[in-house]
């Protein structure tokens, strides 16, 4: 793995770690306080903070997972060269697309 990808993967992990905790806390609080979907969406829609939290999370996950899966494909499927980088980009952009759709749905509507 080239050093730039290595550093990006560490950096994205650093960003993800606190956001995972925030996400877990949100789930626990939401479930324990018995909020229904409507109330939750009412709080997240139009909220810049939630948009930023989950937007950043989605970007970090897309980068981190794409680089990690690049290594798995390299070592286990023996995909090399341009095909390997193409697969990495496809995974990253795919996750970014799916994640952004979800963030849009929760924060904009």
């Amino acid at each position: 793995m080239p050093i730039r990808l290595y550093m990006l993967q560490r950096l994205s992990a650093l960003v993800m770690a606190p956001l995972v905790l925030v996400h877990l806390a949100v789930i626990i609080i939401a479930v324990r306080s018995g909020l229904d979907a409507e109330t939750l969406l009412g709080r997240t829609r139009g909220s810049l903070v939630w948009g930023l939290v989950y937007g950043t999370f989605v970007v970090a996950v897309s980068i981190h997972a794409a680089i990690g899966l690049r290594t798995v494909l390299d070592e286990w499927a023996h995909i090399r060269g341009k095909a390997l980088d193409a697969a990495m980009w496809a995974i990253g952009l795919g996750l970014l697309g799916l994640g952004s759709r979800a963030v849009y749905a929760v924060t904009v509507g």
Partner: protein
């Protein structure tokens, strides 16, 4: 030259299986070999070659752990056979001796070491002088921190035991591997060397040190008690600092 077995008081025999064949295929062959005190795995192979299979291919030179040419797979683990005692290596009384993995096979127990030495060159494992023969001898204190790090990694005998022990080498054959990276780390810390720019670039590439999973199989098996895993961690830190400074 005595092989240490014929003239010993051999009361017992060993159950030995040796892999014979080439790249196209092969099989395990069974032999009974007279047991002797302090017998090494290389003694066993030599006995089979002298008494049973004159055309058995294997490699050795020094027989005292210096040249690094006798490494084989013994009961599935890479070992220097001239310093591995049968009593430590046998499992349930059986000794299975095969060629090292992760290297092309020449025949029987002899591997082609060329890819291993190619990685050495690709990792910038060659000393690049910073002055010429007319300059005074560089005064390097053996106590200086950099020299201590260089010395800790320098006693490599090129046996390829670590290379055979590394799963990443198996999965990604162009990975530079523990021995070449360990050598690069020794040179990175050699104050007389002038090749670090290219070297750091080489070890930071797609086949470089960042492929290492840090599980230290290399360190576990290195017969010279070197720590290639720690050397690779050092390379990761140094290349990262260089990248942050825009030097890569």
């Amino acid at each position: 030259m005595s092989d240490g077995i014929d003239n010993a008081a051999a009361t017992d025999t060993l159950d030995v299986r040796v892999w014979r064949g080439d790249e196209r295929g092969g099989d395990w062959h069974a032999y009974r070999v007279p047991a002797a005190a302090n017998q090494t795995v290389l003694d066993v192979v030599t006995w089979i070659q002298r008494h049973r299979e004159p055309n058995l291919a294997y490699r050795f030179a020094c027989r005292v752990g210096v040249c690094g040419s006798c490494a084989m797979s013994v009961n599935g683990e890479p070992r220097w056979t001239c310093r591995t005692h049968v009593q430590d290596a046998a499992r349930d009384g059986v000794l299975r001796i095969g060629p090292l993995r992760n290297l092309p096979l020449v025949r029987d127990l002899a591997c082609d070491m060329a890819p291993f030495f190619d990685r050495w060159q690709e990792a910038g494992g060659r000393f690049v002088p910073s002055s010429d023969r007319h300059a005074d001898i560089a005064a390097i204190s053996p106590e200086s921190p950099a020299r201590r790090i260089a010395d800790a990694a320098i006693q490599c005998i090129n046996c390829a035991v670590c290379y055979a022990a590394c799963d990443v080498v198996q999965w990604k054959p162009d990975y530079l591997g523990p021995a070449a990276l360990n050598r690069a780390w020794s040179l990175v810390n050699d104050e007389r060397d002038a090749g670090n720019k290219d070297r750091l670039r080489a070890v930071a590439g797609d086949a470089g040190c960042h492929n290492c999973h840090s599980q230290h199989n290399c360190t576990r098996y290195c017969p010279n008690q070197l720590d290639p895993g720690a050397s690779i961690a050092g390379l990761k830190r140094t290349t990262m600092k260089a990248a942050l400074k825009g030097q890569l």
